[in-house]
C-alpha cells in the first residue's frame, strides 16, 4: 500500500506547477489550463483521503463523501470552463489577442 502522504505530496507538487503556470504564462488559455491542473490536484487529495479513511467492513459514509465531493468539484470545473472559454472568445472578438497583458483597460 502506498502511504497517503505520497499522494498528498504529489497533489502539492501538481498544485504548485499550476500556480506557477497561472503566474508565468501570458496566454489566457494556458492560464486557464493551469487552473484546471490545480483543481485536478485537489481532487487527487480528496480521493486519497477518502481511501485512507475507509476502515472496517461497512462502507464508511464519511470516506465516500470524499469521492462525492470530487464529483461536485468536477461538475463545477466543467461549468467554469464553459463560461471561462466563452469569456475568452468574447474578449478575443474585441481585442483580437488573448494575451492577458493586453487586457489592462481598468488600469488606474
Amino acid at each position: 500500500m502506498v502511504p497517503t502522504s505520497y499522494y498528498i505530496l504529489l497533489s502539492a507538487i501538481l498544485f504548485t506547477i499550476g500556480v506557477v503556470g497561472v503566474l508565468v504564462r501570458r496566454n489566457a488559455i494556458i492560464v486557464f489550463m493551469s487552473v484546471e491542473l490545480m483543481l485536478n490536484s485537489a481532487n487527487l487529495a480528496f480521493v486519497a483521503f477518502a481511501r485512507a479513511f475507509q476502515t472496517g467492513n461497512a462502507v464508511n459514509a464519511a470516506a465516500m463523501s470524499g469521492q462525492v465531493f470530487v464529483f461536485f468539484v468536477l461538475t463545477v470545473a466543467a461549468a467554469e470552463v464553459a463560461v471561462g472559454l466563452a469569456l475568452i472568445v468574447a474578449i478575443f472578438k474585441n481585442k483580437h489577442s488573448i494575451d492577458v497583458d493586453q487586457v489592462h483597460q481598468l488600469k488606474g
Partner: protein, 182 residues
C-alpha cells in the same frame, strides 16, 4: 519496494513531467495534449485508490469533454502560435518561480513533518467491489447530498445560459437594412 510503490513512482514521474511540459510548451495544442496525458495518469491513480467511478468520470468529463472544448477554442482563435514573452516587468517570472518553489517547500514540510499520514489498510474482500462503486456514490448523492446535487444541476444550467449570452451577436447590425417608410 512493492509493486504498488514502483507503479506509483513511475506514474507520478509521468504526471509531473506532463504538467511541466504543459507549462513550458510553446505550442498551445501540445500543452492541451500534455494536460490530457496528466489527466489520464491521475485517472489511473484514482483506480489505484479504489475509486473506479471517479476514474471513469475523470476520463469522460475532464479529458474527454473539457480538454476537447479547449482544443476547439484554441483552433477557433488560432492561439497555437505564440509570440516571445516580453513582459513589462522583467523580474516577474523569476520571482513567480521562486515563490512557487517556496510554496512547494512549505507544503512538503507540512506533509512530511506530520509523520506518515495513515497508510490505508487493505480493503476487506466484501469492500473491494462496494467501496467507490457507483451504487455507494449514488446512495450518498441522492440522500445526504441531495441539495448540493440539485444546486449543481442549476449551476450547469446557469453556465450554459451564460456561455450563450456571452457569445451572442448583437442584432443592431440588422437595422440599417430596413427601407425607410415614406
Amino acid at each position: 519496494m512493492t509493486l504498488d510503490l514502483i507503479i506509483f513512482l513511475v506514474l507520478a514521474t509521468i504526471a509531473i513531467l506532463a504538467a511541466l511540459a504543459m507549462l513550458l510548451s510553446s505550442n498551445a495544442i501540445y500543452s492541451v495534449l500534455f494536460l490530457i496525458l496528466n489527466f489520464a495518469v491521475v485517472s489511473v491513480f484514482y483506480l489505484m485508490l479504489n475509486a473506479p467511478f471517479i476514474a471513469m468520470v475523470q476520463v469522460t468529463v475532464y479529458a474527454g469533454a473539457i480538454m476537447v472544448l479547449f482544443l476547439f477554442v484554441i483552433m477557433l482563435l488560432g492561439a497555437d502560435k505564440l509570440r516571445q514573452p516580453q513582459t513589462d516587468i522583467p523580474w516577474q517570472q523569476p520571482l513567480a518561480i521562486l515563490l512557487g518553489l517556496v510554496l512547494l517547500g512549505v507544503a512538503a514540510f507540512a506533509i512530511v513533518s506530520r509523520g506518515s499520514i495513515t497508510i490505508p489498510s487493505p480493503l476487506s474482500d466484501q469492500m473491494i467491489s462496494a467501496f467507490g462503486s457507483p451504487f455507494e456514490l449514488g446512495k450518498l448523492l441522492f440522500t445526504t447530498y441531495l441539495f448540493p446535487f440539485e444546486v449543481t444541476s442549476f449551476l450547469l444550467l446557469v453556465a450554459m445560459i451564460g456561455a450563450i449570452v456571452l457569445t451572442k451577436e448583437e442584432k443592431t447590425k440588422l437595422l440599417p437594412r430596413r427601407a425607410p417608410k415614406n
